[in-house]
Symmetry: C2
Subunit: 277 residues, 2 copies
């Protein structure tokens, strides 16, 4: 298991490392912003001291806007950070950079065009990832974010892109919150397994009614409608042996004490996600 | 063009008919509740007097709950209402009953099971529809409603069910709000055309940020991110020649004067939906 930092968003990097370790969680999904706040080399030293594995770095991407060159540069920095942090983390750390495609630019209705730009950017960055020993992990986002966050909406679509590149350079993220509804989910997880593409597995639950801000709509494992045990079984059968990240965007969790949130995440995880510890 | 009554939800049946006609819109998508408020035979007489076509009746379905028998009975009544109203409407009225599958029952995480129950219910009702000369139109709903409104989430999935039955008995609804994000949309609209399955076409736009109540998140044509003209072209090329319904669930529209909303819908329609009037 791994605790994704987004679940305890307001904790700084030191606090995030501490509460994760104290909750008995062996790995952490790191976000770039808290790393940037202390600086990369300091963050790498802190991660090394913590004894935790890094399960992924969140996040790169956002390829669909008007300034492609700036987006590529930013992603190259993220690739370097991923390599440095994975090297500093405990054995088993994953040099995985999570990519969110980005949404439609203001006033632009060309969804196919935006999708095509995202694919092209992954193609360019695959070279940089290879040089750095980093895996790019394309994250399909729930279709309700297609307009404003991520134009890659299904696992099939993410795999269609990833499979154009070597499996050790471009993979996909399976995040239960984003893909649980997909009628093709079982087939696509099996496909991802056959071609060795599952670079990250994240669990979060779907709760109803959706909170007013749908960006913060996720529940802890077991709180919602998602059959996490079944999806986890599919992912395990597809050969994934990496850490399972608990990643929950939820305003109530963010307001709570991060120590307590980390402990709750650890408790709910074993029961609901159905993944052998 | 047709005005779906959901766009002017708080108008009673008489008002809905009047404002639709006065806005120069030749057809109306009828909802069961306002019909029930005046009684079926009265509603049929009012529709006949109005000179409007009926483009569909909304809605049947909700098959996934614990009481299947009650759901089937309710849908049989809806089928009778569809036949009666289509017969009363002006020439070109469509005996189409829109079906929304229903969500997951309380505490139930078996999405595949709920989908299977929805399919079985359509199978039973196809007989009743045949006897009444009614077409059942399965509406795939946006995946953000999979838990609580409709477990049929994609056009492909709706077609997988519809194609098990004769094309003049079971078809699908293409609603731009629900399906615009789908990477397979073009292929699936073409498929629906080849097998003659498009029973209804509804236009609504996707606006961001999503309003707090996502059930009321739709915009008038042209207000949001959906390339309606391209989707309308696909639907037209697929052979659909029925009315194009403007169906917008939006709290602001509901608070406005229905006369004005009908006129605005007519105005925005021609420009944005890209369908020959």
């Amino acid at each position: 298991m791994s605790l994704n930092q987004a679940t305890i968003r307001h904790a700084d990097f030191a606090t995030a490392l501490r509460v994760t370790r104290q909750a008995g969680i062996p790995a952490i999904g790191v976000w770039r912003e808290p790393v940037g706040a202390v600086g990369l080399s300091t963050a790498a030293a802190m991660l090394a001291d913590s004894g935790l594995r890094m399960s992924s770095l969140c996040r790169g991407g956002f390829f669909t806007g008007p300034d492609t060159a700036a987006a590529l540069d930013e992603n190259r920095r993220a690739i370097e950070e991923t390599a440095a942090l994975a090297a500093a983390g405990a054995a088993g750390s994953a040099p995985v950079l999570v990519l969110v495609a980005g949404g439609l630019p203001e006033g632009d209705r060309d969804l196919a065009g935006a999708r095509s730009r995202a694919r092209d950017a992954v193609g360019v960055l695959a070279e940089d990832a290879a040089a750095a020993g980093v895996v790019l992990a394309i994250e399909p986002m729930h279709p309700m974010y297609a307009a404003d966050r991520g134009v890659i909406s299904t696992l099939a679509q993410a795999l269609d892109i990833a499979e154009q590149f070597p499996a050790d350079r471009v993979g996909v993220v399976v995040d239960t919150f984003h893909v649980w509804w997909d009628p093709c989910l079982g087939d696509q997880i099996r496909r991802a397994g056959l071609t060795g593409r599952i670079a990250s597995y994240q669990v979060g639950d779907w709760i109803t009614p959706l909170p007013p801000d749908v960006l913060l709509a996720r529940g802890l494992p077991g709180e919602g409608h998602v059959d996490l045990a079944s999806i986890s079984e599919l992912v395990e059968k597809a050969g994934y042996r990496g850490d399972v990240e608990v990643e929950i965007f939820n305003e109530d969790l963010w307001r709570a004490d991060p120590d307590r949130v980390a402990r709750r995440a650890a408790e709910t995880f074993d029961g609901a996600a159905g993944v052998p510890g």
